[in-house]
Symmetry: C2
Subunit: 676 residues, 2 copies
């Protein structure tokens, strides 16, 4: 009779060091996957899709990605994405965004591909801003992928301040055309994904000029390359912006216009228009697209949590296989996972991965609920949530970067090899600190909302506070025993409130001292970002607690409670100085929290491998796959690390020839000359 | 009449935004360079060498390094290092290590080259462990570079625990040879630099076996490739270990032996020997090479400080050129360097760069002094210093990584482009957390010394404490006013002492509870590493204070005092929870320290560019150089960022053809098919 184990990743022939870990699981990893991905169906579909993909050879990487040049990476990702599109309807439910997301991570990975932006950033503005006529003209072609497009906004010298964009679209009355022009080097479009070499169309953001009056940024549909030859059209300078820290499978591009003419009808004019005679028809309202940003940033929390989870899957599995040094038993070296320092590097990050994913999902759900309720009135809830997501984006991306790097270092030298693939995961994830709103800018955006809220509370209008900032008006309390999640929430609320109030008071004092509002703000900026981080971290622990509360399966609930406790103690310890500062936390409490933290590490230990297994990343998804039958190297499910590291190295480009040109051309002549 | 400015980097035609910054310098940047590099002579020689190098076209990069594949990087670094060796005697004083160091960074950069290990790790063991006869045979050839060598110790499955190395060298009585063998995949030599494709010789560490008895690790000189054909010799498997996070200009390699025979005379036998009949002659003593490790790790502090300084040079200059958003003046966007958040990201890291360089130099000097005094007796001083350097290595590499990444993010999107080169600097610097002793292992090494010292103090033997840990026996004190560096030192001493004592007490309690020594140690490991970090950070601030104290030039002393104050406040704030925990620091003091920190940022602001200019990195040294006349892109001395970013991008490999194979092979067919 075969024993049945709760960890579902056990297979014959695996490295026994990993199997041993899996046998100690106290919960069912398939059930945990349902909690992570939010439903039994999605967890199951993910496994089914991964399984189906693994049977289609052309969807496998033809070589480990780290062996490829940029040219080869782009060729490979293009090959895969076009092949994937052929198979897609048979493999997934085309209307299910989560399934699409999963299969793309599985097949393409995250280094980019030339169609990634076509669906997420080219088609949406066309849908939203384009008129019916324009839909008629371009939307079908775009959806069928007769044309490939991108979205060109950011300029070489201009990032988040969209009003300072310099590209102009000047209306020519005589020809009824817009003349697109790039007046300076700084005004070159710079960074748009898939712009460099792949797209033949772009939605371009440019300042609309009519009769020398500037009407601000507008969107224009622009064909940039010939549909037959794919050569840039006359008057267009377009190219790739060069290698980046990561995403080198994507051709982020530059784009310059030399008095390039487009028809009047290319202004996306569902909401505004320029008439033949140059009359400008204003859009009915001029609101920011809060909704879109909330969605993207909430999604980022889950996505970043997933990046970190991938790095941790690799590091935790490897740590259960790597042996070094001795503890009790002097006959065999111990697994490095047994060292407290290693656990302290990895386990709190596992907790954060779970926390970020839970936080992302709850935020999206909250947003969707709110959107439905919007009709019935309270718009302030949306502002509350929008402010918060700026903070989430910032805190989550930063902590994810930290966690991934710790995971990499926890793998020692082999973590530094591209065979671990962790440095690529890092490069990709850490981009999130910069894109979709630079982190400092984001934190200050949230701070603006917090200050406004503190001011409301100060003016005795706590009733006007959004629900997520209501605690800013709570009276000071004292927490005697740090037991139970509630106590941690209260501590965090207190800390966060105190910091928001302090920063606001400082801001007011500065203004009272005669400094202008902007300058006063700037002089308090660091304190303000501290307030934003605390507010955000409070929310993240609250979502973790709520998620655990909602779970019914006892064995799942128990291990997640351990993980949550680890999280609560780790997070509180990390911000302890705020709590200690005004005597809110005592030295005894601090000692207690530390002990709780260390005992949490011990509690997690037997479930560590199973907690990362529960993310159910296939070896293909973890990348560095080798040939069609060997996949992940360091973090592979079966734990056979060393043999595969050797195979990986042997197949790397440098080993395709015994004697490199560097030897023939330089080293041999040098040695020969020395013998004379 | 030309105005004379103190910043010596001002040139006609520079970006006026940078010139404006340089004009506000309150000190002479050439004089500061003397302080940084320790002497007027070295600072001047560095400039002279950079100038001389800039006139020799073949010493320039032939292409920006980020555009090259690994094969091309190795070819390029080999080209440059062989060319450099030809010019070297005319360019530098061949006996001056600092000059050699500088010219190598200038010409080769830090991505590695195939001769890097030849001089630092192949020749030294040959010198130290080889007999006169062996020197006769190999040393001259090695020095003339008739042969190229490396040092092969680490194995695929074995890192820092050298006693577990599995490669064997079995003495064959019948043939009087050693038979080198790699019994398992895990026993493959793995990581040695220049082993993969370049070296034809290696000093190999293998367990010496005579008549089935294992005598532990010994060094063997092994020829691995044919000197003529450069093919691996029969019985040798050698190759490159594949791409890494950085150092991709180096061919780190693997090496396996299949019963490979070498003559008896190839055991490096100055101190030990195996006689013809297999009799083993033991070395007279078996001591660790403390001296070498102290030197390497002290050097690392300065080197890491320099890496961070390079990243900061790029980020600070760019921040003075990049404009975004508004403060007082609404007619022009402000330099991003004016934002407090940006200053808070960059300036404390500038202070740390200076601190690490000062710390490295003082430690080397201290070590050299000690070595001279060794004859007169006190060896414990050396143990003191050895323990400390383990901590320095660990703290410095970690904080450098943090600082470089913050510098990169401070450059926004363009920091993410390889044109900034910062991600490559990061990749290289962060390797330091792992090589030369993994950071956690290092911290625990120092902790062992701290615990021993606390135990001495507890047993009432403070007189036995080394000078650097004497404070562990100081009575508790109270600091009322946090003014003057002394107060900060006292605070840090108190914190560090308390943590060392707490960790030691915890360790004792664990043992008393019946847990074994090793297990008790492991259960306290995180607390122990905290003690080590505090001890190290105390030492770093002390060296900073001592260096500033020693300076006579008033204008230099003033700005360095500002920088030191920034450092003291930033560091103390960073560890504030320890001080707050037991009521040693009050809430009022904490508020005071924060205010001091923010006013330090303002004080540094006008000197920020000049403080990084003082490192005097040439544009070539900062890399991403473009052609022979365009060097650094984002951090270039002249501040002309945007035009050069455009030139850089245009010359990148993807832009050498308008229509990529990805388009011809996949995208065009896809679009054509969609039209049907």
């Amino acid at each position: 009779m075969t024993m049945v184990f709760l960890n579902k990743e056990i297979r014959d022939g695996d490295n026994p060091d990993l199997t041993e870990e899996r046998k100690t699981a106290t919960f069912d990893t398939n059930k945990m996957a349902e909690v992570i991905y939010g439903s039994e169906k999605l967890a199951r579909r993910r496994r089914e899709i991964s399984q189906a993909v693994s049977l289609i050879p052309e969807l496998a990487d033809s070589k480990p990605l780290p062996f490829l040049s940029r040219n080869e990476k782009i060729l490979e990702s293009t090959r895969k994405v076009t092949a994937l599109n052929e198979h897609l309807p048979r493999l997934i439910n085309m209307n299910d965004e989560d399934e699409a997301w999963h299969i793309h991570s599985e097949v393409i990975g995250f280094e980019g591909n030339p169609l990634a932006l076509h669906h997420s950033l080219f088609i949406p503005p066309l849908v939203i801003q384009g008129s019916d006529e324009q839909h008629e003209k371009w939307l079908g072609r775009a959806k069928r992928r007769e044309i490939i497009g991108c979205y060109a906004q950011t300029e070489l010298g201009h990032g988040s301040n969209i009003r300072k964009l310099e590209t102009t679209a000047t209306y020519s009355l005589s020809t009824q055309e817009f003349i697109l022009h790039t007046p300076t080097i700084n005004a070159l479009k710079w960074w748009p994904g898939a712009l460099g070499k792949s797209s033949n169309h772009a939605v371009v953001v440019a300042s609309l000029i009519i009769k020398e009056q500037n009407y601000g940024p507008h969107l224009f549909m622009v064909q940039i390359r010939d549909e037959q030859s794919h050569e840039p059209l006359p008057g267009i300078a377009v190219g790739d912006i060069g290698p980046k820290m990561a995403f080198n499978g994507a051709d982020n591009g530059f784009l310059g216009f030399n008095n390039f003419r487009i028809p009047r009808g290319n202004l996306l004019n569902r909401h505004c228009n320029v008439e033949v005679d140059g009359t400008y028809v204003r859009p009915p309202h001029d609101k920011m697209n809060y909704a879109g940003m909330i969605r993207v940033r909430s999604r980022m929390a889950a996505e970043q949590g997933t990046f970190m989870a991938q790095a941790l899957t690799i590091a935790v599995r490897y740590s259960a296989v790597r042996r070094q040094g001795f503890l009790e038993n002097k006959s065999q070296e111990v697994k490095v996972l047994d060292y407290q320092t290693q656990q302290h590097r990895l386990f709190p990050a596992i907790a954060r991965s779970y926390a970020f994913i839970f936080c992302g999902f709850e935020t999206i759900q909250k947003y969707e609920t709110l959107q439905n309720e919007m009709n019935s009135g309270n718009v302030s809830l949306m502002a509350d949530l929008h402010a918060l997501t700026s903070g989430i984006k910032s805190v989550v991306t930063y902590q994810t970067g930290e966690g991934i790097e710790q995971a990499r270092m926890a793998c020692g030298g082999h973590g530094y090899s591209m065979a671990s693939y962790i440095s690529e995961i890092y490069g990709c994830a850490i981009g999130g600190c910069t894109y979709e709103g630079e982190n400092m800018v984001m934190l200050l955006q949230l701070a603006r909302y917090l200050v406004k809220s503190v001011e409301l509370a100060m003016r005795g209008k706590p009733g006007d506070l959004g629900p997520m900032v209501a605690y800013l008006a709570y009276p000071d309390i004292k927490v005697d025993l740090v037991t139970g999640p509630e106590a941690y929430v209260k501590m965090f609320q207190h800390i966060s409130k105190r910091q928001s109030i302090k920063a606001t008071e400082k801001f007011h004092r500065k203004m009272e001292s005669g400094v202008s509002r902007d300058e006063a703000w700037n002089q308090c900026a660091v304190e303000l970002t501290r307030a934003s981080r605390l507010h955000t971290r409070l929310y993240i622990i609250e979502t973790f607690i709520r998620r655990v509360d909602s779970i019914e399966d006892l064995s799942i609930k128990m291990v997640l409670t351990d993980l949550m406790n680890l999280h609560l103690n780790y997070e509180l310890l990390d911000v302890a100085s705020y709590a200690l500062e005004d005597g809110f936390m005592s030295s005894t409490q601090m000692g207690f929290i530390k002990n709780q933290l260390y005992s949490s590490l011990e509690k997690i230990r037997p479930n560590a491998v199973s907690l990362v297994d529960s993310f159910q990343f296939s070896d293909l998804q973890l990348r560095s796959n080798l040939l069609n039958f060997l996949f992940q190297v360091l973090g592979r499910r079966d734990g056979h690390v060393y043999q595969n590291l050797f195979e990986w190295a042997k197949s790397s480009p440098l080993n395709q020839t015994e004697v490199l040109p560097s030897v023939t051309q330089y080293l041999k002549p040098m040695m020969e000359k020395a013998k004379l």
